[in-house]
């Protein structure tokens, strides 16, 4: 009973939030509400027993996707322009479609019905629940279905994630200049070129409250968010540790490669948000991130190749060890690792791609010859900058 109450309440929240997203004109507020929407949806997933999905939705929907939207918004205006005319046509169309779909649901099996076709097909849920412990091993059925029964599919998904990462990199430009690998280590405190504010640090001006119109809000931003820095320093190691726990505990509880990868990336994203991209790039150079992206797919595909070389089918882990169950265990470990590595790499590189694009223009380039940058700063209006940063490494 209380279960239905919780579900009903959370679903109603979702509808209210969705209406809020429609109405709000401020895109930033809409993005914030979209994060809330994902959070509520993830809560509802837990009540509906989908713990692994809730895990992923919470990490992806509320975290990474909010950050990606913010990254895109930083290039564009925060307001959508008012439009009126087409809304009525659209509303009529949407209401009619919705009514038809609701008419269609009247024949659907009711929520929680154990007799619905999805629950009774002998080769699907029934088989997974009854025989997976003997055929694959892990108590977490989601892991065993994901990794073993549907191993091909997961390979495909991993490749899609990898391909999306490549696509974003090619759209937003691989950043070659300023790669920290070529940089001399910076003296603490000097941080040349990290910030766009030309004036050196001046504590008196800092606290005087004078707002320099030339530097504007950027001047504010140089404030000491020391609390955030200290807390971030404290939290990031725990987050990394927790990601490893999620990665390797995924057989026994909710978790696995997808979730761990996203959480691992979140730690670096948090670091990048607080300490600046430049510092995060020193910790996690983009070249390493690209290697992670490809390496994970390589691990996954390599596992498939090994099983074929050992005489089995592609991704048939039984042949990996003398005992099929042990083989499954090794196989699952390997492919979860592959998934985790790829997802980590792709998520971090997405963050780098979106966050670095604007900073590129402002930061002095560090080419090998030490020449100054050619990219001009862009005004707030966002004048077109066709192609100037799209081929940085060429």
């Amino acid at each position: 009973m209380i279960e239905h109450l919780v579900i009903g309440a959370l679903l109603t929240f979702l509808v209210v939030i969705a209406i809020g997203i429609i109405v709000l004109r401020d895109l930033l507020a809409a993005v914030v509400l979209l994060g809330l929407y994902s959070l509520v949806a993830a809560g509802a997933f837990i009540v509906m027993d989908a713990v692994d999905v809730a895990f992923t939705e919470a990490a992806v929907g509320a975290g990474i996707s909010t950050i990606l939207f913010l990254g895109a918004l930083s290039f564009t205006s925060h307001e959508q322009k008012p439009r009126g005319n087409d809304s009525i046509v659209a509303a009529v169309f949407v209401v009619i479609t919705g009514a038809l779909l609701i008419y269609g649901t009247l024949d659907m099996p009711h929520y929680g019905s154990a007799a619905s076709p999805a629950q009774t097909h002998p080769e699907l849920a029934v088989r997974f629940i009854e025989r997976s412990a003997g055929e694959v091993g892990p108590p977490n059925l989601v892991t065993s279905v994901l990794g073993s029964y549907r191993g091909y599919d997961t390979l495909g998904e991993t490749v899609v994630v990898f391909a999306a990462g490549i696509a974003v990199l090619s759209l937003l430009g691989l950043r070659r200049r300023g790669s920290p690998g070529n940089l001399p280590p910076e003296a603490p405190g000097s941080a040349p070129g990290l910030t766009p504010v030309p004036a050196p640090h001046d504590p008196a001006a800092e606290t005087s409250g004078a707002i320099d119109p030339a530097t504007g809000p950027r001047r504010y931003a140089r404030q000491r968010h020391r609390v955030l820095q200290v807390v971030t320093k404290l939290i990031v190691p725990f987050v990394l540790l927790f990601a490893l726990y999620v990665q390797f505990h995924g057989d026994y509880g909710p978790g696995g490669g997808f979730q761990a990868g996203v959480i691992f990336a979140s730690a670096f994203i948090l670091h990048g948000l607080i300490f600046g991209l430049q510092r995060t790039r020193q910790v996690m150079p983009p070249s390493v991130v690209r290697m992670l992206m490809a390496g994970g797919v390589l691990i996954y595909g390599g596992t498939g190749a090994v099983t074929m070389l050992l005489g089995g089918n592609l991704l048939d882990y039984d042949v990996l060890a003398h005992d099929p169950l042990h083989g499954q265990h090794w196989g699952l470990f390997a492919i979860e690792l592959g998934v985790g590595v790829t997802v980590t790499g792709v998520m971090i590189s997405l963050f780098y791609a979106f966050a670095s694009r604007r900073s590129d223009d402002r930061e002095p380039a560090r080419d090998a010859d030490g020449s100054t940058p050619t990219g001009a700063t862009t005004g707030a209006g966002g004048t077109p900058r066709a192609g100037d940063a799209s081929t940085p490494g060429a």
Binding site: I17, G20, G43, G189, T195, H201, A221, Q229, G253, F275
Partner: protein, 93 residues
């Protein structure tokens, strides 16, 4: 006992949601969303106990973390309109 806590949390979520939708400033929304996240964390914990499987508390941990990351990201974006530059860079670091 857990049912009481669940209902209390749901009621508070309604109130928080009202604030998130009403605004008026972005900070109000952000405060409400952040607070909503904490309530979700508590709801998951309580719900785990209520259904007798408190081994899913890991998820609540992720919520606490992601909530923080999201809030910081929006704040930083609001301050600087940008995610990448070293906004929170300490000058005398």
């Amino acid at each position: 006992m857990f049912a009481v806590a669940t209902i209390a949390l749901l009621v508070t979520m309604v109130l928080t949601l009202a604030r998130a939708l009403a605004g008026p400033t972005l900070f109000d929304r952000l405060l409400a969303v952040n607070s909503f996240g904490t309530k979700t964390v508590l709801l998951i914990a309580v719900y785990g106990f209520m259904t007798g499987r408190p081994d899913f508390l890991d998820i609540a941990l992720v919520y606490a973390l992601i909530n923080f990351v999201g809030t910081v990201a929006v704040l930083k974006f609001f301050e600087l309109d940008d995610l990448g530059s070293g906004v929170y860079q300490e000058d005398d670091y």
